[in-house]
């Protein structure tokens, strides 16, 4: 069965292609459109998936949208009308979008892809998430917990999954009680973009103490039985999926963070020698972040225990945007009632496009498969860059520093290329690493990565300042070969079951100085445990780097500029090289090196 799964209209729109019951590609629209979190119908991504699979739209048995738009519409309408007459503006602006393609998704997809409307089907939002997580886990049976902002009405669901059957959702929490919206509201209150910069809230939390848990629990009430509810007066939930806070929230927590506060966060440093005294101006903010994080974890633990009671099994699959909170995931892995846990590498709406296709095929009685790998994206066309290099002025590739010259190295032998990259990394250079199919989800996993020596703090600081241009309080991650996991990490064996940066793990004390650039102030890292079978080239690079330096891991962060999605094509990579202070760009057999 050939099925195209589609997610769109909230954030991270994605198209995923199933050919003969096997998922073969998954591409986020943002990677092609270069608009971060692009929510528009992913037509560019759909075309790219079809081209990858060698299919035309006429070859598809079904196009499956990841949620039920009419049901979602009732939620948006009800939440807007509940605010009558204050919501006139929201109603008008919201309905303009809904009366276009958002409500009439069947027609929009049928017209855009040129398929008969009868071939457009729908899956429920949480069933899409749950199916993606379960099928990818490879488990025979599991409990499934989906926690996100909101789908149609459902914000949280607990389900039972068995191999070869559609996932059965046993219990749901419904809008407006949502852990995703709760966390997003605080993210906005702390001065970050809600539904986008939740990772900043999580990073900030490590600098604080959870001293304000009692206050936070007044707005997120947790019951003994694992259920929860939001204080209705504290959250402004009338907007379509965009949680904000109310005057009542401000009365409880004070004025929201302003530009000056956000600037002050810049004084916090993930690379500081130890957690030093936080300034009195910042203490309430970091403590609030820590408290919000702590309450979220408690809520998730409650839900896990509830899931364990409902579904007596030792395995849990976790999905939904909240599953991107790697600190919470590691606490669930440590303290939760399940022996084994699986979180897909793209647990958010991108993964739900894959889940929609899988769920539809399961309903049709098919036996579905999905590679247990996050590398379902597009292959870069290296030839585009090879061709144009002969005609480019090197000055255009040194726009930032303007002083350096750019040298082009071509390798006929891959080992030499790997040796060259390892050598430059050892010298403290920042290397952009582009290799074969892109990873799905928000984490760079060695196919679209920025790499650096984790022990060279001067390099790491330059990476943050001149390439990533991101706040110093946000930590970087480490990539290490699976054979090094237990030697580098406490809980290394457990971390190996979630190898794609889905959780955090403490780094052994003795290794912290040489890995400091990839270790947060709390002594943890978000590790990628590299399997030699799945990523032989990246594993060989780690080997070469260790052989040169004795350091068993590389600092690995996403290959993108601030505000941009992960680099996808070879031209994107060259663009980033030209616009930032990158030292080396590795593109297959080609390396561009900037010398100063």
């Amino acid at each position: 069965m050939n099925v195209l799964g589609i997610s769109a209209h909230f954030h991270d729109a994605t198209a995923a292609l199933m050919v003969d019951d096997a998922i073969v590609a998954s591409v986020a629209e943002e990677r092609i459109s270069r608009q971060k979190h692009d929510a528009s119908l992913p037509l560019n991504a759909a075309s790219a998936c079809l081209a990858f699979g060698g299919l035309s739209a006429q070859d598809l048995d079904a196009v499956v949208f990841y949620e039920a738009p009419h049901e979602k519409f009732t939620r948006v309408l009800a939440s807007t009308m509940a605010g009558f007459p204050r919501t006139l503006g929201r109603f008008v602006s919201g309905m303009k979008g809904w009366l276009g393609e958002k409500l009439f998704v069947r027609n929009a997809l049928s017209k855009a892809l040129d398929v008969h409307p009868n071939r457009v089907a729908f899956s429920s939002h949480h069933a899409s998430h749950a199916t993606h997580a379960f099928v990818m886990s490879g488990f025979d049976e599991a409990a499934v917990l989906v926690v996100d902002a909101v789908g149609e009405w459902t914000t949280t669901s607990i389900g039972r999954a068995r191999r070869g059957e559609p996932v059965e959702l046993l219990e749901t929490h419904e809008y407006p009680d949502s852990l995703g919206l709760f966390y997003a509201a605080f993210t906005g209150f702390l001065g970050f973009a809600p539904n986008s910069e939740e990772c900043s809230t999580m990073a900030l939390a490590s600098f604080g103490q959870p001293t304000r848990v009692a206050e936070v629990r007044q707005v997120l009430r947790l019951a003994e039985d694992g259920t929860f509810s939001l204080a209705r007066d504290a959250f402004d939930l009338l907007a379509d999926g965009k949680a904000t806070y109310t005057p009542s929230f401000v009365r409880r927590f004070g004025e929201p963070a302003n530009a000056a506060t956000v600037e002050r966060y810049g004084t916090l440093d993930a690379l500081a020698p130890a957690v030093t005294v936080i300034s009195p101006e910042l203490t309430p903010w970091v403590d609030l972040a820590a408290s919000v994080q702590s309450v979220l974890e408690e809520a998730l633990l409650g839900l896990c225990r509830r899931a364990a009671r409902l579904v007596p099994t030792r395995r849990l699959c976790l999905a939904g945007g909240v599953a991107l909170n790697c600190v919470a995931v590691s606490r669930l892995a440590r303290e939760g009632p399940f022996e084994t846990m699986f979180v897909p590498p793209d647990p958010g709406d991108g993964g739900a496009a894959v889940g929609a296709a899988l769920a539809h095929a399961l309903r049709e009685g098919r036996t579905v498969t999905i590679p247990k790998s996050p590398f379902l994206g597009l292959t870069p066309r290296y030839e585009d860059v090879h061709a144009m290099l002969e005609h480019l002025d090197p000055a255009h590739l040194s726009r930032v520093n303007n002083a350096g010259s750019v040298t082009c190295h071509r390798f006929t032998d891959d080992d030499r290329g790997l040796g060259f990259a390892a050598d430059r990394l050892a010298m403290g250079k920042i290397v952009a690493w582009v290799d074969s199919r892109a990873e799905t989800g928000p984490r760079a996993l060695g196919h679209r990565s920025l790499l650096a020596h984790p022990g060279r703090l001067d390099t790491v600081r330059r990476l943050g300042r001149a390439v990533k241009r991101r706040a110093a309080f946000r930590p970087y991650a480490l990539s290490l070969n699976a054979t090094r996991a237990t030697g580098v990490l406490h809980e290394g064996r457990a971390a190996g079951t979630l190898p794609w940066m889905q959780r955090t793990a403490p780094v052994h004390d003795g290794l912290r100085p040489q890995l400091r650039g990839g270790v947060h102030v709390d002594g943890t890292t978000r590790p990628q445990i590299v399997s030699r079978e799945a990523q032989p080239r990246f594993a060989a690079l780690l080997d070469a780097f260790e052989a040169t330096t004795g350091v068993p891991a590389l600092l690995n962060t996403s290959l993108n500029e601030r505000g941009q999605p992960l680099v996808d094509s070879a031209v994107d990579a060259l663009t980033m090289f030209a616009r930032t202070d990158l030292d080396v760009l590795m593109l297959d057999t080609l390396a561009l090196e900037r010398t100063r």
Partner: protein
């Protein structure tokens, strides 16, 4: 390992003053439209920006989005042309458009005292295949001329040195793009008359698109009016049931 430093073999005239020598000029309705737009920018914009300073930041953010889209279009074209020299030219344009976008966004954020964003529009590539590449270049060439005129008008109307200076600097870049693209178009068509004909068609296409955009804005205004009316009529009937639904929350229900 083969190593070499590479140098420019095909000189790209980025930043050079334009010759504006495509020969497609003269009186036609587009000229009236462009003149009207420039007049509106010079007369209406300063008043609006003074009355609603937030609109100024928003307008700059829209310029940032437009420039980013322009860069994206160049990227699509790079992937669709087999000509390496043209790829290189388009790549240089792509870099400049991205830089413009960043400069506008910085200005917008500065004026708005924080991140000012606009809703992203769907990206639709103008160059869909190799055969449409010439039409694409003609279209962008025509667009760059309009943009350089508009930047000139905005620069004069802005009234803030930082904004005026940016518009002026970027106008020169856009004129450079225009010149480079005209050369590329001539090279692709191998005939001045065909190149001119493509540019003429592109200008009519742009005019038609402008008309569609104005029509859409009018349609949106009408729709907003009707929706407002529907809200006021429907609201009193729906408000109580909606509030009850919001209060209930339906925690942990069995479906």
């Amino acid at each position: 390992m083969e190593t070499h430093a590479y140098h420019l073999s095909h000189v790209v005239a980025i930043g050079a003053r334009p010759r504006l020598a495509n020969g497609v000029r003269g009186g036609y309705p587009r000229g009236v439209y462009v003149a009207l737009r420039r007049w509106a920018i010079r007369v209406v914009m300063p008043v609006m920006w003074r009355l609603w300073p937030r609109r100024r930041a928003h307008a700059l953010a829209e310029f940032a989005a437009t420039e980013a889209d322009s860069g994206w279009q160049f990227k699509q074209a790079i992937e669709r042309t087999p000509d390496p020299a043209l790829k290189a030219l388009l790549f240089c344009n792509l870099l400049e458009e991205m830089e413009h976008s960043e400069r506008f966004q910085r200005l917008a954020d500065g004026m708005g005292q924080g991140r000012v964003g606009v809703a992203p529009a769907r990206r639709t590539s103008l160059a869909t295949d190799t055969s449409s590449l010439r039409a694409f270049i003609a279209y962008v060439h025509a667009g760059e001329l309009d943009i350089s005129h508009e930047f000139d008008a905005y620069g004069r109307a802005a009234g803030v040195p930082a904004i005026s200076g940016t518009f002026e600097a970027l106008r020169e870049d856009e004129e450079g793009h225009q010149s480079g693209l005209w050369s590329a178009l001539r090279k692709l068509t191998r005939s001045d008359s065909e190149a001119r004909s493509l540019v003429r068609r592109a200008r009519w296409r742009r005019l038609y698109r402008s008309w569609l955009s104005v029509s859409k804005q009018l349609g949106d205004a009408m729709l907003a009016l009707w929706l407002g009316l529907a809200y006021l009529l429907m609201g009193p009937l729906a408000v109580w049931s909606s509030r009850a639904r919001m209060r209930s929350g339906h925690a942990a229900e069995q479906p």
